[in-house]
Amino acid sequence: MAKELKLMKGNEAIAEAAIRSGCDGYFGYPITPQSEVMEHLMAEMPWEKTGMVVLQAESEVASINMVYGGAATGKKVMTSSSSPGMSLMQEGVTYLAGAELPCLVVNVMRGGPGLGTIQPSQADYFQTVKGGGHGDYQLYTLAPASVQEMYDFVFKAWDIAFKYRNPVMILSDGAIGQVMEKVYVGDYVPRWTDEEIAKNAPWAAFGKPASRDHNIITSLELDSARQEQNNHRFQAKYREMEKNDTLYEEIMCDDAEYVFVAYGSCARIAHKAVQLAREKGIKAGLLRPITLFPFPTAPIKALAQRVKGMLSVEMSAGQMVQDVKLASEFKCPVEYFGRYGGIIPTPQEVVEALENKLIKG
């Protein structure tokens, strides 16, 4: 595939990838720091190139329900927002999960709680991987740490969403959304034809031929026995995701005595902290979860058995650290360091935290 080099913001890369990956529809409502997603889509006018629909809805609630409608017909549809907007969408998200509808939701996180700030944050970790909406559901959650990954993960999202009939979340933050980096973009993947939708999403409500029963899209099941069966099916699907589609990256972990665990923009900062720590003679490494659900439990457990300690680095008050502790099975000390409310930790602060909390401690 021909690759073209561009310099783009993370948000623009999401939009460009949507067009090039054969997305059928984007429905959104502007909010900083992700407004460039829709800005870029509107500027590119994909409805003239690929036929993709781009629609500014009247609210986030409307956007996510338009996604529900589009997804029900087997189309590749998406929305994007930032933290306060994501909170508004949570009802729609759990309905999508309950109705087993593939779609892409992008959250470019900003500092909360409430209307908070427009600066970067990672405080929606719990919202994303522990619920957000009601009921026992999971979102397959990708955490890009570069503009290239913002681009690539849109393609990945469609594969996973349709493989499992499940919503996929790209959980990013204001820093990755706003930073401009090199991106290699590929050729346009055509949107699915009606025949391809019928083949790839035979469950979808695209018109009933006489030869089969109705395809019904709903999250409602008043017969509890059947709803328990539905839940069994969902849980089995989540276990399959854990088994087959957990992603992570290890950086300089081979000889590491201390390991940072960080995702998204914090992983970039922690990578720099690894370099600074090694300049000081501290054997540091980085484990970067690429999927937050499924969480890379097994590699963290393996590392915990041989390192002297782990530091979860987050732009939150300590959310992912709980999962790191559980994964470590307490085989080594696990500590947390973070800044929040829109403040980004510096690599120097991360090294100091490692020294103070784990090495001196």
Binding site: L7, T32, A175, V179, K182, S265, R268, I269, H271
Partner: protein, 183 residues
Amino acid sequence: MTEEIIIAGFGGQGVLSMGKILAYSGAMQGKEVSWMPSYGPEMRGGTANVSVIISDERISSPIISQFDTAIILNQQSLDKFESAVKPGGLLIYDPNGITKAPTRKDINVYKIPATEKSAEMGMAKVFNMMVLGGFLKIKPVVTEQYIEEGLKHSLPERHHKLIPTNLNAVAKGKELIEGVNVL
């Protein structure tokens, strides 16, 4: 080679676009680059800054707090970033509006009177490119020919006729920059 740069000044001075042209030029030269703006409720007349990293290797953090080079275009930014230059690093400032000059002796300090000269020459709009030229004189992190490439990619097509003016400003900047404290 990794060069970590902060460019800081007033909104409207072309701080973000100078960074973008520099980043694009680096990318065209095959280097790894990142461009991280201070985004926010900023407006013309408020402060604006951007961190640009140009490197031969994969860039770890695009968010940095210590810099090899600080390019400073107003007093507020000088107050904020003088202390953030790494020892032995470089600080370039435009003396226009500066009431308290840099005081550090452990860094290289250069000044470039780009605001004044660009106004005199009727080139006020490419003031930022003059500053960029000054920087490239001291630290040629990007080769000259790629600046033109960077301009082509970062300016909209309708402004491509202004590329020679921009390159002229870069050349002027190289003549204008002068050392204040050179280690």
